[in-house]
Symmetry: C2
Subunit: 154 residues, 2 copies
DNA sequence: CCGATACCCGAGTAAATCACTCAGGTTTTA
DNA sequence: TAAAACCTGAGTGATTTACTCGGGTATCGG
């Protein structure tokens, strides 16, 4: 039971967008530097996020990404699902088919649903509000000399 | 967020033991046939379960495995952990080290703990009691001509 | 209008993990 | 003593992961 880094990165990146929502749109270069994630990987990731309608993009210089909905309308589950992170513990292999389900088939679908409910109950806003994240975020912005709008030299 | 088949098999197998606890010990051949899991794989799996103290074994003909504790003392979490199924969604890669944790580090350790609590609150007995499992189990035993104690011919 | 910035896209790939299998044991019972 | 069963280490093909690469195309400032 583990999460792929893709799912984890997706949540991190979405939080970054949420934290800098006031600026308008955020470039992946910024996200990459702040969150320490490879740019190429982020681009690939944001394709999925966009396809799922979680973010909008603006092309060209001064472009970037922004949340397609409000903070509170996006859940952890939404993000994970968008990042191909299926929240499904159930079986689909050889030992368990539709007509001859295994002993635990019901159990896992049940648990999966409960996990989904749980993850769907946490909004991006909930996450961003947390004290932990707030302090980390300001630290990140300060480290970025000059903060966001200016950014003169490399 | 998915479960490996190893974890799933472990739970299935443990439930099989629990369901046939009255017989004394259960051979892996029986479990293999009833639950449709490769014998060799089960043997490998039961090494882990034994090492973790969840089952005891009796060697030789008429031998087999049995639960090392009561139904109610064994949790889903216990079984999954024994089957090398770590219940940990947190990061440990490049983007996130101890001194420079990523934005979401706290979030994932938090979630992991909640998941663990949840899985630890479900005992093997809880699972076995469920209507679903009961009916499936009797079906499995009936299909096995002659049921458990007798088992004359192959 | 040109070059820099940034999004967009398909494909490829090394490393890791998974889901097993195999080939041998050793112990116990009938 | 043969069969049943547990025990063990090692190997392996397939799949998935976590990326990278090499090209685009749109937009803005000068």
């Amino acid at each position: 039971m583990k999460l792929t880094t893709k799912g984890r990165y997706a949540v991190t990146a979405m939080m970054d967008l949420a934290l800098h929502a006031k600026i308008g749109c955020v470039s992946l270069v910024d996200v990459s530097e702040r969150q320490n994630i490879s740019l190429a990987y982020l681009e690939q990731l944001f394709r999925s996020l966009k396809k799922s309608g979680l973010v909008n993009s603006i092309r060209g210089a001064k472009g970037g990404y922004m949340l397609a909905k409000g903070d509170k309308e996006i859940s952890l589950a939404d993000i994970l699902v968008a990042a191909d992170e299926q929240i499904n513990l159930a079986c689909g292999g050889s030992a368990c088919s539709e007509n001859t389900p295994c002993l635990t088939h019901g159990l896992w679908t049940n648990l999966s649903n409960q996990f989904y409910e749980f993850l769907d109950s946490k909004s991006l806003n909930d996450l961003v509000k947390s004290r932990d994240v707030q302090t980390m975020a300001t630290m990140q912005d300060v480290t970025q000399i000059g903060n966001i709008p200016v950014q003169i030299s490399k």
